[in-house]
Amino acid sequence: MRSERVEEYLEAISKRQKTEMPVSTSSLAGDLGVSLPAVTDMIRRLEGEKLINYEPNRGVSLTAKGSRAALTTIRRHRLWERFLTDILGLRWDKVHDAACRLEHAVTPDLENGLASLLNYADTCPHGNPIPDKDGHVKEQDARPLSEFEGGQRARISAVAKEEGRFLRKIEKLGLKPNSVVNVLRKDDDGTLELKLDGQQLRLDKATADYLMATSVSPSNEAPEEEIPMSMLRTGEVGVLKSYFGGRGMLGRCLSLGFTPGSTVKMVENFGSGPVLAKVHDADVALGRGMASKIMVTRINPEC
């Protein structure tokens, strides 16, 4: 059986590889919280066991053998997390550290027993996928929430940072795997303005980087959901509900007929650039920024 340290390293490299290839020794040192010389020592050892390829000055990458070993560790880690939350009833922000210790003390039999007990669950409590026993990972088309733009709708699929404090912070905001958020706006510094269950909240980029999300097609949503007008597609009709922005723009919106309760028909929306909307019998051209600050609910044109 491989030592705990080896498994820790392989796991860390595997996770890093999603964003960095090859993985530099310094980011590895950061992730594992160890010194650079210690990493270098371990890398020599792993290379000797043909678990990784090491290119001096560039970094390391897992070999097929190393990657298989890493996935096994990850599988065991995530199974334990599930076990701790689902069977023992621990909170999701408390299970990561325990699973880190438990994952190394598992035999293949124990691993299979766990998986069967958990009904072959395919994600950990944080939403990350559990590789199957052959090392296959169910692909997710998730990307960091920070890459979403204003007007898009996203379902949080996983939290990439499992540290307790971080999890408690986002839980406090109401964000968990499977939460659906509307991205209202993205500031120049990457801060997101979100709408979640009717509540507006702001999320800095560093936090949004760790939230993996899939985009949700706007048409699947409940009709009473408020969306920015810029999300109405050509031909769709909405009822104006509220504004999002200062008083300065309010006056002009009102005098051009964008009053709450009025029906707005999207005449042209090409996904970027200004939109053309019909309100009170005339076509009004609106800059996209402005259109994303006017909140509407979509209505079915047939009704």
Binding site: L250, G257, G273
Partner: protein, 665 residues
């Protein structure tokens, strides 16, 4: 108050939203009896004119186009201040019959300021086409005011409008009140409460009740005005009262639109389907992100085709058969005059002012084609399709309109920035407009490129245009970033329905613009022409030994960096009067009888120096008329000076870099 005799003068204000045909109605009614000026202290055009009818003299005042009377823009503030302080005898609200519910909103606001209102319903033909029939009688009884249906573009309904005005002003002052919007007990008690807080303050010129309502609506101008007049404790009380009334503006606007809806329920027949078919079909292409640009390109090619196809031969004709003949007359046959007078008349007046005047036909044609595009409603689409590009410069689509005008002449471009609401976006557009190569500069480029590059002149000319647009974009990005700190302008405008153009309106508007250009440019060009002539004549009696000649020689070291000799530097300097003067000056300085100017230029300039010269010429300081327009539109010398300094440095820097690089190639 005006019941004196059958001979009386009344003042009538014409109010209405932009693009509703206000200028058409105004032009048709007043004809040439117009006075065009500015509203006091504002750079918004004020037009007044006289209409005579049955011994009645109507002074018609064209208010700026507005959708409401809450001060969201200078136009709205001007319109309402005029109505409140000048108290016109009758106010005509011109509405678009094809989008009545939006346009009646303005009426709900006007009703609160004056009972003497007439509704003029324009474009009833378009409305009918779109399937919207308006029952005029029902509308009259719902609004309690006269309603006159009209089709201004076909001169229909104008007489009826004047009759209605005459009748209205004969009504006794206590005639039945017009309808008004019921705001409900909550809003009314809020207004009363604010009125109470304002009790001891001077709200003039605004009626107290109205001012209280506007404060509740969050009107920043009135808020600021009254804030300064209130004692501190009242200021605080008002602020705390308003703090949880943020949604009052929305409620008020909602109530007004509800009221409009009720009025229209009985008076308007709504179509079932298939509306705006004609406009919709054209807009399908004209507002498309890709096809829209193709349409714009085609339209601009057509515009320039017409303008240059007709205008350039006319300009050429005027220059050769009028100015040059007159010059010949002065120099060859007026020997009885002293030499300086001959030179003054021939070079100073004819060569300076005269040459500028030959460009007027080009300018007029440009105004006509532009006026046509405006009148049919196409220019709003230009703003829409170009918005996405202008955004990266921190501007929005509306800024594109004056910049396109700049290809004709930079002066109307600078004046045309008035369509832009945001002060900052307007200033940035003003500063960028002189970077557009105008028709005069194109003429210079054409002559010089043809002389040096022969068959490749077209390529060189196209290259210079593309280069100057690239520099414009870069300058826009930098100025937006560093001078204006990346503020954003927002596009928000109604796209009018396409409609038939009215030749008379187009003609009048083009004429007014040409006159405005002459007024703006004329005197200044004359003055500067004289100064430049003086500098180029004295003390030696010829340009070589003149003050200007000395200045040019003094600049030769700088010129050397760009590959230019002193004659070319002098030519650049004189282009300050008018860009086309470059050629005239070179003609004087280089035009030896034996060889033509082209030949001389070819012998004198290497291709590298020629390109450097063209670049320097394109970016050189804006001409006098443009500088004066900038000063006028920005309300001071500061930005005019900035523009001159910026382009002086830009033109020399670019020319030096280009010459030094081109020399190595």
């Amino acid at each position: 108050m005006l019941e004196k005799s059958d001979k009386k003068t009344i003042v009538v204000a014409l109010a209405g939203a932009p693009n509703v045909g206000k200028s058409t109605v105004f032009n048709l009614l007043t004809g040439l009896s117009q006075h065009v000026g500015n509203w006091p202290g504002k750079t918004v055009e004020q037009k007044t004119g006289i209409v005579r009818y049955n011994g009645l003299t109507i002074q018609l005042v064209d208010l700026p186009g507005t959708y409401s009377l809450t001060a969201n823009s200078v136009e709205e503030q001007i319109a309402r201040d005029y109505l409140i302080t000048e108290k016109p005898d009758v106010v005509v609200a011109l509405l678009n019959a094809a989008s009545l519910d939006r346009h009646l909103y303005l009426v709900t606001e006007l009703m609160e300021l004056t009972p003497r209102l007439i509704v003029a319903l324009n474009m009833v033909d378009v409305a009918r086409q779109e399937g919207m029939n308006v029952d005029v009688k029902a509308l009259e009884s719902a609004l309690h005011m006269p309603v006159v249906p009209m089709v201004a573009s076909k001169n229909r309904g104008l007489k009826e409008l004047v009759e209605a005005i005459a009748q209205k002003c004969n009504q006794p002052a206590d005639s039945p009140a017009v309808g008004h919007v019921e705001y409900g007990s909550e809003i009314s008690s809020d207004i009363t409460h604010i009125e109470g807080l304002l009790a001891d303050a001077d709200t003039s010129p605004y009626p107290r009740h109205w001012a209280a309502m506007k404060i509740l609506e969050g009107d920043s101008q009135i808020n600021k005005l009254l804030h300064d007049r209130l004692p501190p404790d009242r200021q605080a009380a008002l602020a705390s009262f308003l703090s949880d009334k943020e949604s009052a503006a929305i409620t008020l606007a909602g109530l007004r639109f509800d009221w409009v809806k009720n009025v229209l329920a009985s008076a308007q027949e709504k179509p079932t389907a298939g509306r705006h078919s004609f406009t919709k079909r054209i807009d399908h292409a004209a507002t498309h992100p890709i096809w829209g640009l193709a349409v714009l390109a085609a339209v601009m090619i057509l515009v320039f085709g017409v303008v240059y196809g007709i205008g350039v031969p006319v300009q050429h004709f005027l220059e050769v058969s009028l100015i040059e003949r007159l010059q010949a007359l002065v120099f060859d046959h007026a020997h009885f005059m002293p030499g300086w007078l001959q030179s003054f008349l021939g070079n100073g007046l004819l060569g300076g002012v005269g040459t500028v005047l030959t460009f007027l036909p080009i300018l007029f044609l440009f105004f006509v084609t532009w006026g046509f595009l405006e009148d049919v409603g196409y220019t709003a689409r230009v703003a829409f399709v170009t918005d996405r590009f202008m955004h990266s410069l921190g501007l929005h689509g509306k800024s594109c309109l004056p910049l396109l005008l700049g290809f004709g002449c930079n002066v109307p471009a600078v004046m045309g920035t008035r369509v832009i609401e945001s002060k900052r976006a307007r200033l940035l557009t003003i500063l960028l407009a002189p970077l557009i190569p105008c028709s005069a500069r194109m003429a210079v480029i054409g002559v010089i490129a043809a002389a040096i590059f022969g068959g490749q002149a077209i390529l060189v000319t196209a290259g210079i245009i593309v280069f100057s647009l690239a520099i414009l974009a870069v300058s826009g990005l930098l100025m937006n970033r560093f001078i204006f700190q990346g503020e954003r302008a927002v596009l928000m405008m109604e796209l009018p329905l396409y409609h038939e153009p009215n030749p008379r309106t187009i003609g009048m508007v083009s004429w007014q613009r040409t006159i405005a250009f002459i007024k703006r440019a004329g005197t200044l060009i004359l003055a500067v022409s004289i100064i430049i002539w003086f500098l180029s004549y004295f003390p030696s009696g010829n340009i070589e030994g003149s003050i200007l000649g000395h200045i040019g020689r003094g600049l030769e070291p700088l010129g050397k960096l760009m590959g230019l000799n002193w004659q070319l530097m002098v030519a650049l300097l004189t282009s300050f009067v008018a860009k086309e003067n470059t050629i005239a000056t070179l003609g004087v300085l280089l035009g030896r009888e034996t060889t033509g100017l082209s030949q001389t230029l070819k012998g004198m300039l290497t291709p590298a120096a020629a390109i450097a010269f063209l670049v320097a010429q394109v970016f050189f300081v804006p001409c006098v008329a443009t500088v004066s327009a900038i000063r006028h539109e920005t309300g001071g010398w500061r930005w005019a000076a900035f523009s001159v300094g910026f382009q002086l440095i830009l033109s020399f820097a670019l020319a030096i870099v280009i010459f030094q690089i081109a020399r190595l190639v």
